[in-house]
């Protein structure tokens, strides 16, 4: 019998991707709650941004009566267009801040729930880095799902509400490229926020002695 101890192999990424994908698929409804926090926050940010984008697109083509209607609806026009007033920027920052707190809370709960599972897989030979990678990947999936669904929802609601207020002028000058880029960066923001939320609990969980993790209540 060999008495020497070897070093554990680091699992390749494709294995980690497979395991984390199956894991998130199996607890789809649980992770939907975390994802929903992201969806709502990103939807709000995307709604605000795409509303301003659309107004900026309509404004040059709008006749006097439509311009009056927009101005009387409470939108502030500055030299740089709509949406660059300090009030607008504060609103966006605050919504992101609230979202970060919500995400950290949701991820903390989701990881704490799985302490025992983490203890078990560490007994079976999982490295700390594997545990961290699993949680980071799951956070990326949640971020993508929440980000895309949230930003599409935000853009959709913004379009419909402006359509309701200002009529078909919105459709004629709908800024397709800007909308696409809003969906793009808002999804990126969601992935980033999701990662920010998960990184601390994932590190704590990975560093635990297996015995401590196994003692956790289920």
């Amino acid at each position: 019998m060999k008495t020497s101890v070897e070093r554990q192999v680091v699992l390749p990424w494709n294995q980690v991707v497979r395991i984390s994908f199956n894991s998130i698929k199996a607890r789809f409804f649980r992770s939907l709650i975390t994802t929903l926090t992201l969806t709502l926050a990103v939807a709000f940010v995307a709604f605000t941004w795409s509303s301003y984008d659309m107004l900026n697109a309509i404004w040059p083509h709008a006749d006097k009566s439509l311009q009056d209607l927009i101005a009387s609806s409470g939108y502030e026009l500055t030299e740089k267009g709509f949406g660059s007033s300090p009030k607008d920027i504060w609103l966006a920052i605050l919504s992101v801040l609230v979202c970060v707190v919500g995400i950290i809370n949701a991820q903390l709960m989701a990881v704490t729930e799985r302490f025992r599972e983490i203890g078990t897989i560490k007994c079976l030979g999982a490295l700390d880095s594997f545990v961290v990678r699993i949680f980071l990947l799951e956070a990326v999936y949640q971020g993508l799902l929440g980000g895309v669904s949230g930003s599409v929802l935000g853009v959709l609601v913004a379009t419909l509400s402006l359509l309701w207020k200002f009529g078909f002028a919105v459709v004629y000058s709908w800024p397709f490229q800007q909308m696409l880029s809003t969906i793009g960066w808002a999804s990126g923001l969601a992935v980033f926020l999701s990662l920010i939320g998960v990184i601390y609990p994932a590190l704590v969980a990975a560093k635990m002695q297996p015995a401590v993790a196994l003692r956790a209540e289920e």
């Binding site: 019998m1 560490k122 030979g125 297996p210």
Partner: protein, 244 residues
């Protein structure tokens, strides 16, 4: 695997463990010396709170002792880095728990093959071996069931199959019958005994189940963080009267 009577698979030397709970210090282990030979079926007996589970965690390299040394296959566990420790837990030791601790979102076969995935085996190899192991514990036809679709006894069988995944030298069982009824518990004990005979695996189980005594080669009685006495099987018959 062969039996080598002189080989010490586990050796503990003056192991202590202190837990801090706020300002309180709880001494769970107060200096334990223990040597376990290859192929032995050893039971650690003692009332709850005696330090049994703490001792189990020390032997399994799941927690660090406050002082003293733990050797597994004559390797000092404290000297190992994270990678070596993970390798040791993956290849040398199989774990069985009172609460089964199967991964709830994985099927029986996925649970059994997980240690082999960590060991770096390829898919064909681990699937085949996983099915063989499930056959040994009599659950081959339920390979696709999730733990929630299996009874307690069946879950523990899956856990036993999982513990054997990488042909470990030691199987550590923490109260393996604690959550099972009498007959199912007996079946599990019988299965463990059979595996220890056939495969020459060292089985160490922490328990307060008296049924375990009949199959054990040695029994370590632990009380209040210390080893009270160690009994060989031939002398055991006499003392069972005391227990019951």
């Amino acid at each position: 695997m062969y039996r080598d009577e002189t080989h010490n698979v586990v050796r503990l030397s003056e192991v202590t463990k202190v837990f801090r709970m706020g300002t309180n210090k709880v001494e769970a282990l107060k200096g334990v010396d223990l040597t376990i030979k290859t192929g032995e079926y050893l039971s650690i007996m003692g009332p709850s709170g005696s330090g049994k589970s703490t001792l189990f965690n020390m032997i399994g390299a799941l927690d660090k002792p406050t002082s003293g040394r733990v050797f597994i296959d004559e390797v000092d566990v404290a000297q190992l880095d994270a990678y070596e420790l993970a390798w040791l837990r993956c290849r040398k030791i199989g774990y069985i728990f009172q609460t089964f601790n199967l991964i709830q979102v994985m099927t029986a076969i996925e649970n059994v093959t997980l240690p082999m995935v960590f060991a770096g085996m390829n898919r064909d190899e681990y699937t085949e071996k996983g099915m063989d192991l499930l056959k040994i514990v009599g659950l081959a036809e339920r390979y696709h069931h999730k733990p929630s679709e299996l009874s307690g006894g069946q879950q523990q069988r899956v856990a036993i199959a999982r513990s054997l995944a990488n042909d470990p030298a030691i199987v550590l069982a923490d109260e393996p019958t604690g959550n099972l009824d009498l007959t199912t518990g007996e079946e599990i004990i019988f299965l463990l005994k059979q595996l220890s005979k056939e495969r020459g695996v060292t089985i160490i189980s922490a328990t307060h189940d008296v049924k375990m005594l009949n199959v054990s080669d040695r029994v370590v009685w632990i009380r209040d963080g210390r080893i009270d006495r160690i009994e060989d099987r031939d002398k055991l018959k006499i003392s069972i009267g005391e227990v019951a």
